[in-house]
Subunit: 168 residues, 2 copies
Amino acid sequence: METSTLLSGQTGNAPVINSGVLLNHWQAHRRLTRRTIEAFPEVGLFSFTLGGMRTFAAMVKELIVIAGPGVKGAATNEWNALEDHQAQQGTKEELLKRWDDITEQVNFYWPQIDAARFQETVVAFGQYEAPLYETILYFIDNEIHHRGQGFVYLRALGIEPPAFWDRS
Amino acid sequence: METSTLLSGQTGNAPVINSGVLLNHWQAHRRLTRRTIEAFPEVGLFSFTLGGMRTFAAMVKELIVIAGPGVKGAATNEWNALEDHQAQQGTKEELLKRWDDITEQVNFYWPQIDAARFQETVVAFGQYEAPLYETILYFIDNEIHHRGQGFVYLRALGIEPPAFWDRS
């Protein structure tokens, strides 16, 4: 069954998610990710891994360097190369502080994204070419993906993760 | 900074994602999840766990009983209680077959979702009350979340997961 033929009618064009809803959806996920960071013990956050993967702190740093410069790029079309996020160390408190700064940055730049721009093709970080809405969905999906991995780390550390459904 | 005040203007109402885009987005994720199931060895799929969590097969069964009856409920407003998905056993081949059936079911019911209905409040599976668009985003987010956990299982089994960015 070809999706393209199914969606040629009015149904495929039905508006589902607008800019305000998408921002709220992202920030709701960001609140859950923040609680996931908080749930980690300081040492485990920066040292625990499974299967040869990165620490959760390294994943969170990736989310930070994507979200902040990403939303700025979305609004201004000024894209820098993706900042290195592997080598840094730090503390849980510093990480949460950076997380909160990015939350403000997302709220600051989001309303500056021109309405028509969501459908335009952008080259995020100078290398990822896609419509802007797809780029932003990718940012959010990548966060959900890595947070899910953080949940496994927490369980393996004997810690109950925050409730997935709670986005308050 | 209050999000509500930021988004009172035109920007908050900018259409970002329509019905056809959201279907394609979901099915793209479903293709990646299918490849994740395929990457598991038969035994590991039904027996490997970390941190006292469920097997990846049990998570996939949850995704199946959500997506199929979920898209039917979205289109018809006929919601059954969420089917039990814990106790079942089976084979990888059967699981992939069920996955593919649900893919067809999503394509079948999606165009039957009335345009206005995406903004209506539904009570999914008789118990989860939310606007339909939020319910559908939850289905997708839950899939990304558990697939991310499946990636950790694969890594712990010494298997390279499929590329997260590849949705072909």
